[in-house]
Symmetry: C2
Subunit: 145 residues, 2 copies
């Protein structure tokens, strides 16, 4: 592997290892990018950014994002019909999706659907509850189109 040793961050390595994730250079590079701040990013954005500082392939980006997501380190946001966003903030919250700009942002106020778990369809268990509030840019002249 021709990847220069990524500067070890104890936090990152510990965080990965605590989830049973072997901290390879590529995974650490992806994690460093994702966790440097809360953000909503697509696989492509992660690829473009992480590639600047580390050798990593597209397949590994997809593998790693799926792995992190499965392990609960990040969260998939299915809101844009054209792509998946990943959220490095895994605390419970919901999202705005602006259908004009294709951007995602956090909902600050509480929007907590109450769900009685015993009412789930037979043979299933709860995975997650996603609330997406779709927004449009407001138009001065609402009658257009």
């Amino acid at each position: 592997m021709n990847l220069q040793e990524a500067p070890k961050s104890c936090d990152i390595n510990t965080r990965l290892e605590s989830q049973g994730i072997y901290p390879t250079a590529q995974r650490v590079a992806v994690a460093r990018f994702l966790f440097e701040r809360y953000q909503h990013v697509t696989a492509d954005e992660v690829y473009d950014q992480v590639r600047r500082s580390a050798n990593v392939s597209k397949a590994t980006i997809y593998n790693t994002l799926a792995l992190f997501s499965r392990k609960g380190l990040i969260r998939e946001i299915v809101a844009d019909p054209a792509r998946i966003f990943y959220d490095s903030n895994t605390t419970p919250h919901h999202h705005y999706f602006n259908i004009d700009t294709g951007t995602i942002s956090d909902i600050e106020a509480d929007v907590q659907p109450s769900l009685s778990p015993e009412s789930l369809p037979a043979g299933t268990e709860l995975h997650s509850v996603d609330v997406v509030v779709r927004l449009r840019n407001s138009r001065a002249a609402a009658h257009l189109q």
Copy 2:
């Protein structure tokens, strides 16, 4: 156009025209399929089904679904990261999405997030609120994988 005249349904034509949609044979065929009962279907399923009784192209299926959705006759469901579902039931309700089977079903019980519209981000207006409850098939042995 070599499409045999679709048997006119007064309901369907009225429904389309009431939304300012010109009831072409293709649109009527799509509408007849969609509205014969409440269902959650992908563009591909609509294409396969409608093609049995009418000559229609893939492009028209996509155009028509987008048009119906824009006009509020059907509703887009963004839940499966791989495809869009269309729901011919437009009354307010939310959805289960089974991530193991990729199927969508309606939530019967009320899951109504309370949302104060004045808290929306500046310059935006509400388009819709989507609640997707993700389910897994329950496993007898929950420790697997």
